[in-house]
Structures are given as structure tokens and as C-alpha cells.
Symmetry: C2
Subunit: 229 residues, 2 copies
């Protein structure tokens, strides 16, 4: 095996290109040109283009999920087994947002690739993606423990909206910048995370609990959310 220089060069070139231009208009020839390797190397090392994409996705997917779960566990440990809803949501959206936005965008290809993958539904990824449901279920369970009086339906909608705001902010950051003429600062990642989490918490608790700062947890339970809607 020697050094898998070629392998890793292909992987990182592919990730970069897919992240920047999407799956549709990136060819194997683009990838090998960027990686400065021979065209046949892709099939030699990965078997096929689809397997290359799958490997890329699986690797990053596991890493993101691990990062999220680490934050979740840390939060639950700090809360004596029951994390507050604020920190749960922060663990959910933080890793991806930090990876994609902010001034240190150079190493963000990984996160941007994952966003692409979550949008453009290319066959090799579609087959793998069902596992994400199980991953999200862990967060749903943590949220349930954190907000025992919150109805199941509200819980899932809150989770859904949190991800929606986080992902769309990454995906369409350009539009928001243009629309607000630069007013909305997309380099302030922490501010964005705070914003997404705050709104999500309001969605979950019906606006009664407001978490203004990450340091100030909302009351972990007792918030009735049967707000009729």
C-alpha cells in the first residue's frame, strides 16, 4: 500500500469540488485534474465514481454525527443526565454551522459537502442516508427528556425547524447577505447559532422561555406547549 497519497488526494479534491459546484457538474476528469493524478486511479482505488462518493459521505457523516453526539453527551453529563433544551439544540446545529460558515472557511469543504449531499439526492448517498434518521432520534429522545411536557408533535417540528434554519442559512447565505446588504453578518457563527437555537427553543416552548445566552439555560421542564396550533 505504501503511502496512499493518491487516494487521499482524490478524496480531498473530490470533496472540495463537490462542495463548491455540486455533484451535477463535476466529472471524474475534473477531480483527477485537481488532484493531479491519473484518471484510472479513481477506479483503481475506489472501484467506481459512486463508491468514491459513498466513501466520502460515510466518512463525513460519521464524523459529524460523532461530533454532535459528543456535544450532546457532554451537555447531558453536565446536567446530571438531563441536558437543557438549549444545549441539546446547540449540539445539533453547532457542528455543521461552525464547519460551514465563519472566517476560517478554508477547511469547510467537509461541512459544505455534507450540505450538498443533504440536498442533491444522488443515488449512492440516498442509499446511505436513512441512517441519519436513527441519529436524529437520539436528539429527539434527549429533547423529550429535557421537555417532558412537550408533545411529541411539537418536539419533532422543533427539531425539524432547527435543522431547517441552520441548513438554509448555510445553503443560501449569499442571498441573505445580498438582501440585507451586508447587515446580517455571516462570519459571526456563534451569533448565528445563538439565533437559531433561540428561535427553536421559542418554537418548542411557545415563546415563554427565551434563551438569550448559551450560558443561561431555560427551565428544563414544566413548560406546557399545547398552544393549540
Amino acid at each position: 500500500m505504501a503511502s496512499d497519497h493518491t487516494r487521499t488526494a482524490i478524496l480531498s479534491a473530490a470533496e472540495q469540488l463537490y462542495a463548491d459546484r455540486g455533484f451535477a457538474d463535476v466529472t471524474l476528469r475534473d477531480i483527477v485534474a485537481a488532484a493531479d493524478v491519473n484518471l484510472a486511479a479513481v477506479n483503481y482505488h475506489f472501484g467506481s465514481k459512486d463508491e468514491l462518493i459513498a466513501e466520502l459521505f460515510v466518512t463525513r457523516s460519521l464524523a459529524t454525527n460523532r461530533e454532535r453526539l459528543n456535544e450532546l453527551k457532554a451537555a447531558e453529563a453536565a446536567g446530571g443526565g438531563r441536558a437543557n433544551i438549549d444545549s441539546i439544540l446547540r449540539a445539533l446545529v453547532g457542528p455543521t454551522l461552525r464547519g460551514c460558515l465563519g472566517p476560517d472557511r478554508e477547511r469547510s469543504a467537509a461541512a459544505r459537502f455534507m450540505i450538498r449531499a443533504s440536498i442533491e439526492s444522488v443515488p449512492p448517498i440516498r442509499r446511505i442516508k436513512n441512517r441519519e434518521i436513527d441519529h436524529l432520534r437520539k436528539f429527539a429522545a434527549a429533547m423529550r427528556r429535557s421537555l417532558p411536557d412537550c408533545s411529541e408533535v411539537e418536539l419533532y417540528w422543533g427539531l425539524h425547524f432547527a435543522l431547517a434554519m441552520a441548513h438554509q442559512t448555510i445553503r443560501d447565505s449569499e442571498r441573505l447577505t445580498k438582501l440585507s446588504e451586508g447587515l446580517c453578518d455571516l462570519n459571526d457563527v456563534q451569533g448565528i447559532i445563538d439565533r437559531v437555537v433561540t428561535v427553536s427553543v421559542m418554537a418548542l416552548t411557545g415563546g415563554e422561555a427565551q434563551s438569550k445566552s448559551p450560558a443561561r439555560p431555560v427551565a428544563p421542564y414544566g413548560r406546557l406547549t399545547r398552544q393549540d396550533l
Copy 2:
């Protein structure tokens, strides 16, 4: 010109296919097969594949914007020139949500096509899409009139989050259904609109004003939103 049966057959077949399968893996041959016309008809009637896509997008874009603006104007007229924030947001997200979700999903290809177009950034569409900014600015202006004490930044973030929740709900309705095991009812379009609007209003007003029903407007102004975040 006779009857542009062929033209319209191509347009609607293309829209349907693009909406269902995305731009990446739909070929002209797929389209003409679905439309039951000759392959050369596309280039004869539209000039090129890109021009076909562009025409599709422009047509639908204008229609959606018109629908939104009609609702907005109706709301402003009803409010004596200043609509409440609730109905503004409803005009913004309602048309697309109603078009994409719900039980009458058969004629939803138009709206689903627009969602695709807003995600998969294919060249002919990218060139046109800048106009949408101007369209959204009208909603930003209406929101500003409705919430004069709301800071500009909060306003844009609120607008952004509203669109984020609406679009992601359409885009990833399948995941939400699976995750919630059917608990979240995606056929209840009105309920979804209420939900998105309510959360957006909370995001804009800091959770003080809660709009539970479309009939009950929130106070049009006087809500300070400098909530530090």
C-alpha cells in the same frame, strides 16, 4: 403557429420530471418521451435545453411572485395600508407551501419545480435568480412598516428563517414523516403555515407576541425587539 400542443406538452413534461427527479438526472430524451414528441422539437421550440429551463423558471417565478404580492396587497389594504406581520409572512410562505404540500398534490409540480430550482443551482437559472432579491425586498419593506421598532437585522433574519422553515419542510417532508413516524401531518397545509408563521413572528418579536390563529393579528408595532441576540 396553430396549436402549440407540442410546446406545452414539453413544458409540462419537463416541469414534472424536473420536480420529481431534479435537474441532474433528467435528459431531453426523458422529457420528449414523457411528452410523446420528437427529440428535435425541444430545440425547434425553445432553442436549447437551457432556454427551456429558463422559460420554465421565469414563468413560474413570475406566477409565484404575483400570487405572493396579491396576498400582500390584500393584507395591506385590509389593514389600511399597514398589514400586520402575521399576514405578511402568510403571504410570503403560503403560496409555495400550499402548492407543494397537501392532499391535492397532483398539480404541485409547479411549486416543487421551484423548490428544486432554488436548490440545485443550474446555470440558466442562476442567471435569473438575482431578481428574486428585489421581490423579497418588497416583503422586507412591508415588514418594516408593520414592525417599525424592529431592527433591520432582526427583520432580515426573520424573513430568512421564515423561508428556511417553509422550504425545508417541502424539501425534506419525507424525513420529517419518517422521523416522527407519521405524527407530523404534512397534509395539514394550513396547520403548517400557521406553525411557520407563528415561529417566525416569535423570532421577529422576541416571543412576546404570539399569533395563534390567522384571524388574530399581532399588535402591529410597539414591540421592542432589541433582545440583545
